[in-house]
Symmetry: C2
């Protein structure tokens, strides 16, 4: 067995944002040597990595050179040069998740087709190479309102997704390869995080429930455990594990699903990395998602995914009309509330809706957690004094 | 209120060992800018501090210069230059805990006298300026066997303390200022960690129980909650809070006590910083001791100290007869066990009995935690392959 701890082993992480930062909590805990690359010199990962390299994650040569410096490559963002990852794999450097998994996921059209090919329940859709192709299909009645427009690549934080209900909405559709998905009336948006290691050990986290901000299309509350039937929970976890096995995924896979009005589960999309819907796990779970991702990619035994206590996460997003160095208004008030832990990502500038941190509220009683979470949400604000 | 988060505020930490490293988990979580100083270039804190400075913590000018670079100074080790701290306080730089608290604690003779002056129950003792003074007192029947010899300054990790039972033991006593304490037959060794902020808010952690290695005088298991009567627990926490108030302590204070055969609580000694007996809190408590220390010194509201689940900590000490780069033998086996989290401090060399890390075992059932902890202890070993 390879000695990962306090040794010459080097783990490379592509991407130095908050997900990488939270992975580094775990590599510091285990004394695993890390090299992190990010295009920004102010990346949150700059501190806590053994070595930080500024570089373009989408550049073939940059990613190739980076990978050759380490023993194992992982990533905290999907926008990395896949061809470079393929080449690294050919050269015998481990890449987890694999380039092949990443390819299937990072283009949403390919991802959706993969679900169909693997008999994984997902909303019906049509794929288009361009905006004009989509508009032509609409004008020929092959596509009708309402529908969900999704960009094939590049969507994150609610971008690249739009509900198209009217002619005005149609005119807003950006250029580029995309898909139009049937709008499913759902009861709940759920997520299940699955961990899988190269030895094939698979384990899922309890189902979480996501409540969304109606306008910004960003998550307001992530609630664990989800307030659903036990039987639905079992099915959701099995579905997520099936998805992970189908992708032969190594590391963490966050599987986002809808629970329809008819109690059917439908896969929305996946992310092959630690995910916003799993941040609650730092305070609530026996093994947090970041430690779990490290265990999985190093082919170590996976840890217990159950919860010690109920957990609710609130995203901390920049308030509208504020740009500049962040000020966390009313932090002292929320620190008085029991079971409340803020996480500040260390971004140097706030912008409207920019993810600046999150706050997790844990409690033995989920109803108490929910009411404290609402108080936190209404109290703590990220503004700027510029 | 001062903006500590993502701002120009600078926190200085004297000492860069594992306690500092675990404080840095929390400063990274809150995006608090840190400058850490340690005499070793290989200090565990070198990564994760915004700035690391190599320097002698006992040197007046070095500590003074360091303190002038920051807004607030704290320390994770008692061996720092107290006069420099006093001068920094005069210059308006906050020092928590204060130089005055540190002075009362770092000399064990002064510490014991402080307990007497404040009517805090502690074992009877005599103080001696030198080894020869002690031997003279013994020869004049003013001191009888057995007794506990303690060095007035410089003791840590079980050093500077010796049970003197025989003539041979007497001959082993080192030079220097010391005290001889009555050997109290005790049922239990307990510890209570107290947090106190400048506003005077005080909160104690649940009582922990410590089981010691008979030879090395180091802790084997730290068990929370302690297996004692509820009434004893209440008294122990009150006693610890009284001690904290008496010292007017700011930050964390670990109060080590004996529970005598007659169910009396007797204070053994204190440490004005996060403490080995509080490491379990990272996985078990609503607010871990490191986050709590940060809250306390910044005069933020203190967090809930109660436990989510039972927690047992096992120290990970270098095995006898091994020196060199560490190898954590059987790590994979212990990672299979539920609720087990190893912490590797990142020291570059192992030595017999050197604290190389710890492992915390959490479980809803304390008996299960205890049996898993024993398995961990018997399985995971720190050796070297040199």
């Amino acid at each position: 067995m390879i000695n990962y701890f306090s040794s010459d082993f080097k783990l490379g992480i592509l991407g130095g944002g908050q997900l990488g930062k939270m992975l580094l909590y775990e590599t510091r805990k285990f004394d695993i040597h890390t090299i992190v690359m990010d295009p920004s010199e102010e990346a949150p990962c700059k501190i806590s990595a053994n070595t930080f390299i500024k570089g373009d994650l989408m550049d073939y040569d940059t990613v190739l050179d980076f990978g050759r410096k380490v023993d194992l490559v992982t990533f905290e963002i999907e926008s990395v040069n896949v061809q470079a990852l393929k080449q690294l794999e050919k050269e015998g450097i481990k890449v987890f998740p694999s380039s092949s998994t990443l390819e299937k996921i990072s283009d949403k059209v390919i991802q959706k087709q993969f679900y169909l090919d693997n008999k994984i329940s997902t909303a019906p859709f049509s794929a288009f190479n361009s905006r004009s192709e989509l508009l032509k299909a609409f004008s020929e009645d092959q596509l009708s309102l309402p529908f969900v427009w999704k960009s094939a690549t590049g969507g994150y934080d609610g971008r690249g997704v739009m509900i198209v209900k009217s002619q005005e909405d149609l005119e807003q559709i950006p250029q580029g390869k995309c898909l139009a998905e049937k709008l499913i009336p759902f009861k709940n948006e759920l997520a299940v995080i699955v961990a899988r290691n190269p030895s094939g050990q698979v384990i899922s986290y309890p189902v979480v429930e996501m409540e969304f901000h109606p306008v910004a299309n960003q998550v307001e509350y992530v609630i664990c455990p989800a307030r659903i039937e036990e039987s639905t929970s079992v099915k959701a976890r099995q579905l997520a594990e099936k998805v992970s096995d189908a992708f032969e995924h190594v590391g963490l896979l966050a599987v986002e699903m809808f629970l329809t009005q008819d109690d059917e589960l439908v896969v929305n999309e996946v992310a092959p990395r630690p995910h916003n819907s799993g941040h609650y796990s730092i305070e609530a779970s026996y093994t947090n998602q970041f430690e779990q991702h490290i265990r999985a990619i190093l082919d170590l035994p996976l840890g217990d995914t159950e919860s010690k206590v109920a957990g609710i996460m609130v995203n901390l997003s920049g308030e509208e009309s504020y740009n500049g160095p962040p000020v966390y208004k009313n932090m002292e008030q929320i620190l008085k509330m029991p079971g409340v832990t803020p996480h500040i990502y260390g971004k140097k500038e706030t912008r409207p809706f920019r993810k600046m941190g999150h706050v997790t509220i844990v409690n033995k009683d989920i109803l108490k957690a929910r009411s404290i979470a609402e108080e936190v949400k209404n109290t703590l604000k990220v503004i700027s004094e510029n």
